[in-house]
């Protein structure tokens, strides 16, 4: 096998004139697992499963716009579910827009993954093995599940991306004017897109882990990953500072390499924003995380960067203009975001550095990651000297001038996505109290819309930053670096408690920072569930933002909690692409704990997860198109998600109807009987208005029909308790989740039984402490819930 590799060319006698290229070397497949029913599913393959989900969790639409402007028959007015000129109705149009968002999100991950794979093959060769150490046997659960492939080397992911790309284009085709007419089919396509996206993410993260030796189950990985600094305050601005922004780590990795090779690790700060920063800490020990997306504008404007290196995604579109304003030269490293600059790939580094330092050009493009390190570092070293005397934080006088200038016209408030009352805060500041203004700093998502409309040309963002500067300088948190895959051995430990419900759930706060109320919400969500012994798995901006806050003892949540995939753990899985490992954990529960076949068997595994794995995603600040496709990927796999109120602007939710009995019919796979169950999980995708509402909702979405009574009583405890704590009252629906007395927490069982009797008219056998009548169904420990007829073992 050493001699023949994919991509090889060899000749066969008699065919000298022909070169034969090896497309793929397929090892005997029986070796690991027989192929399941749905390898490499196409659009229609899993449509039945989707329709099952969609009939229970009916797509709910809230248009952001009543018009459609996608073709020149339009604009069309679709208000009131009217049809456009092409015949599309408002509901289908909303499904179409959701598919569009998922398309863009999924393409971002796929585009990134494919790009990464090209670069990694170029740098490390095709044969980098996929081997995550002794604790991870199932290296790529989603790849096995969806593609039916067991990747051995990174090159094996070529066929994965081939598959994804083909499917993405097929789905994009469906967006064309005059194609799909049914919102149900649009949603099935969005779910397909979401599934592809989950696969993207797994591929991308596995490739980078394999190539860069990022933490896995090798020593120092998993629960034992080290902590890194987080926060603007942790960047030592006395040194030259390089800030990397985006999602694609190779250029940053090259900077790290260059610093190491040139013994500059302690002389130059390498900090990052967004997912690239998380991944940089996985490859370069001294890297720091300046901030998540929400602070990007302000970090750049604060002028701390002596050079800014962007790659792709989650970069402000005006980054070049921002950089110029604070004289930070910019290096663009990716063809998706070239910002009109000149491509200097392969040019002489001396010349490039000179052009950047002299200010002859505001930035350059270098598309070869391995050419970025030298240019970035040398530029930073020189710029540091030049920029040392520049000040970008407002002086006290300037600040005073600006806040006094404000005429309270309210224009900024109308422009602000969060409706922040800046005028009033300015007024307070003018009167000597800067606290209201400083308090806005964390509520602000750093978008800059306010400044553009201010008739008094007040640089509002700078004014806010100035007011918050003392606290900003102290923004110093700690975070675990991204650990990557959950270990098979961990799954073996927690599989049973999770399915039985005794670990109440996996809570996965992921994604962006478009919070309604600042980063502290992220912290509170993690804290509440970690302290209740849920497993909390984070990725992306939420993983960063929750690290900014500390408890009374000065500890961040990462410091206060262990990093094991076990009760009470607070795990940073990694960047956005790493959240595939959360899917993977759920899949591995089905596979390792329950022994379900994995290969090409998506439907069965999703059915298993929906019915039995009490996991809930939380995308409190979800903002991007990626978040749309990520959520759709979780949803198709049977994992619900709670999102913040801005997410109502995604237009679509998946909401179950607890009041419709027919919607909650499951099959007992043991005998084929139909069972009406409690609404668990009640929703697949739902927004909450405030974090106080979200906390009990998250707990609620961890109920599963398979819960044992012990598990259910634990989940009920948290559900009721979180309601009492944050809503001051019992939830109106807690009784729906009671099947039997032993479902009730022991400590409060009597009181709860009494409530069931009094408030819900249930019949209680007080002698036996049993419920005689009331519940939707009784508790049957042998209940084997499924939505799939084909899984019925024996028809009764």
């Amino acid at each position: 096998m050493d001699k023949i590799k994919k991509g090889d060319l060899f000749s066969i006698s008699g065919l000298e004139n022909v070169r034969i290229s090896i497309g793929g070397i397929v090892e005997e497949e029986k070796e690991w697992e027989p192929m399941g029913p749905h390898p490499m599913p196409r659009i229609a393959t899993l449509r039945d499963w989707d329709f099952k989900l969609l009939n229970r969790y009916k797509p709910f639409y809230a248009p952001v716009c009543d018009m459609c402007c996608l073709c020149t028959y339009g604009k069309c007015d679709l208000t009131g579910n009217k049809k456009g000129a092409c015949g599309i109705k408002m509901d289908a149009q909303q499904g179409r827009i959701v598919l569009l968002a998922c398309l863009v999100g999924c393409s971002a991950h796929c585009g990134h993954g494919r790009h990464l794979l090209h670069d990694m093959i170029k740098k490390f060769g095709r044969d980098v093995p996929i081997d995550f150490g002794p604790e991870v046997d199932i290296e790529a659960p989603l790849t096995r599940l969806i593609c039916g492939i067991k990747p051995r080397t990174i090159a094996d992911f070529e066929q994965v991306f081939d598959y994804i790309e083909e499917q993405i284009v097929q789905l994009a085709d469906a967006l064309h004017t005059g194609q799909e007419g049914s919102y149900m089919d649009f949603e099935s396509k969005s779910l397909h897109m979401g599934m592809l996206d989950s696969l993207n993410k797994e591929a991308a993260d596995i490739i980078q882990i394999a190539c860069y030796g990022m933490p896995s189950s090798l020593p120092g990985g998993g629960p034992d990953v080290p902590l890194v600094d987080v926060g603007i305050g942790t960047i030592d601005t006395d040194k030259p500072v390089i800030i990397v922004i985006g999602h694609n780590v190779p250029p940053a990795a090259d900077i790290g390499d260059y610093l190491t090779e040139n013994e500059l690790e302690d002389k130059v700060e390498l900090g990052g924003i967004c997912c690239t920063s998380i991944d940089t800490t996985r490859v370069y020990k001294k890297a720091k995380i300046a901030s998540a997306l929400g602070r990007q504008l302000r970090v750049i404007r604060a002028g701390i960067a002596d050079v800014i290196v962007i790659d792709e995604q989650c970069i402000r579109a005006d980054v070049l203009e921002l950089c110029q304003r604070v004289r930070s030269p910019m290096i663009a490293t990716n063809d998706k975001a070239m910002h009109g600059l000149v491509d200097r790939t392969d040019d002489d580094p001396d010349k490039i550095v000179d052009d950047l330092v002299s200010g002859r050009v505001p930035g350059v493009i270098i598309l070869e990651p391995d050419q970025v390190g030298e240019v970035a570092v040398r530029t930073a070293l020189q710029m540091d000297k030049k920029r040392r005397l520049l000040k970008f934080i407002l002086s006290d006088d300037e600040f005073k001038h600006y806040v006094n200038d404000c005429i309270l016209c309210g224009g900024c408030t109308l422009a602000c996505p969060n409706g922040l009352r800046i005028g009033e805060a300015n007024q307070s500041a003018a009167a000597g109290n800067i606290k209201p203004l400083a308090d806005l700093f964390d509520l602000c998502v750093g978008c800059g819309r306010c400044e553009q409309v201010c008739k008094k040309h007040i640089p509002i963002v700078d004014v806010m930053t100035k007011a918050a500067y003392p606290q900003l300088k102290e923004e110093k948190g700690r975070m675990r670096i991204g650990r990557g895959p959950i270990w098979d051995s961990e799954i073996r430990e927690v599989g049973a408690p999770l399915v039985l419900g005794t670990i109440p759930g996996i809570i996965a706060p992921i994604g962006c920072g478009n919070y309604p109320n600042g980063t502290k919400d992220a912290w509170l969500i993690v804290k509440e569930f970690a302290e209740r012994n849920y497993i909390v798995t984070l990725t992306g901006c939420m993983a960063i933002d929750c690290a900014l806050w500390k408890d009374e003892e000065g500890k961040t949540l990462y410091e206060a909690h262990h990093g094991r995939f076990d009760a009470g753990g607070v795990l940073n899985i990694g960047s956005c692409v790493s959240n595939a490992h959360i899917h993977d954990a759920a899949i591995k529960v089905a596979s390792i704990f329950a022994g379900r076949p994995l290969r090409g068997n998506y439907e069965e595994i999703a059915d298993y997860i929906l019915s039995r794995v009490g996991a809930c995603g939380v995308a409190w600040g979800a903002m991007s198109q990626k978040a749309a496709s990520i959520a759709s990927g979780f949803n198709r796999l049977g994992v619900p998600a709670v999102v913040g109120p801005h997410s109502a602007k995604y237009r679509r939710a998946f909401l179950g109807r607890a009041d419709l009995k027919e919607d909650w019919k499951l099959i007992d796979a043991s005998d084929g009987s139909e069972v009406y169950v409690e609404p668990g999980p009640q929703h697949l995708l739902v927004a909450c208005e405030t974090v106080e509402e979200a906390l009990p909702m998250i707990a609620k979405l961890c109920f599963r029909p398979s819960d044992t009574d012990r598990g259910r009583s634990g989940k009920l405890t948290h559900y009721i308790d979180l309601n009492l704590k944050y809503l001051n009252t019992y939830p109106p629906d807690w009784h729906l989740f009671v099947r039997t007395a032993s479902d009730l927490p022991l400590a409060t069982r009597n009181a709860l039984l009494k409530k069931l009797e009094d408030e819900h008219g249930w019949e209680i056998d007080w002698k036996m402490k049993k419920i005689r009548e009331g519940p939707i169904r009784g508790y049957d420990p042998s209940f084997n819930p499924t939505n799939l007829e084909r899984l019925i073992r024996e028809k009764k």
Binding site: K58, F60, Y61, A62, P63, V64, C65, D66, M67, D77, L78, T79, G80, N81, M90, D91, L408, G410, T413, L414, A415, P417, G419, R421, G423, E424, V453, P516, P645, H646, A648, K649, R651, A653, L655, R657, D659, Q682, H683, V686, A687, C688, E689, T690, E692, E693, M697, Y726, L727, N728, T729, P731, P732
Partner: protein
């Protein structure tokens, strides 16, 4: 088309945008509605006054769906009559279904008043009702200090300096609602 600027300036949904009306107009619609419903959100907690307004409306026989964590306000005030926690997404999803049984099992509503809900979340839910709860028609209005183009009727924007005027509007509204059998 409305003449007011949406509180979120780009929140221009299209040709059908809510009218800015007086409290009395809304009051009279509520009074004449078959089955009105008051939907409150967490912003009512910012001042006891707003909870009291909600309760006063409730006392006129109008059921209350308390969304977000607004239910706290009622619990703390010990008002429990015809008020029930509901997630706003969930509630709106029910509202768009003509066959929904309502909070009391007696059927869906025909007039829905949004009050104290985070602007953009409310706006989206109003959009859902406007676009999809059309047969039979549910009229959804806002009595918040924001202009809500997706509502059928709405107040205009109030700045914090106009808080007292806004409160006076709410008082006028309450006064203009005819009490009904609960």
């Amino acid at each position: 088309m409305g003449m007011e600027i949406p509180f979120d300036v780009a929140n221009i949904p299209g040709p059908e945008m809510g009218e800015v009306v007086s409290p009395e107009v809304i009051g009279s619609y509520i009074s004449n509605a078959e089955r009105p419903l008051l939907v409150v959100g967490s912003e009512i907690l910012r001042d006891k006054f707003f909870i009291e307004i909600a309760i006063e409306i409730g006392k006129k026989g109008i059921p209350i769906a308390a969304t977000g964590h607004s239910i706290r306000g009622f619990v703390d005030t010990e008002y429990a009559d015809n008020v029930m926690y509901y997630n706003l997404h969930d509630l709106t999803n029910c509202l768009r279904d003509p066959n929904w049984k309502g909070l009391d099992g007696k059927g869906n509503y025909d007039f829905v008043i949004f009050f104290g809900i985070l602007y953009y979340y409310a706006s989206q839910m109003l959009s859902c009702i406007k676009n999809f709860a059309t047969d039979p028609l549910i009229r959804a209005v806002s009595i918040d200090r924001y202009y809500h183009p997706n509502a059928r009727m709405s107040f205009s924007n109030f700045t914090p300096r106009m808080e007292e005027e806004y409160k006076a509007m709410l008082n006028r509204l309450v006064k203009s609602i005819r009490g009904r059998q609960k």
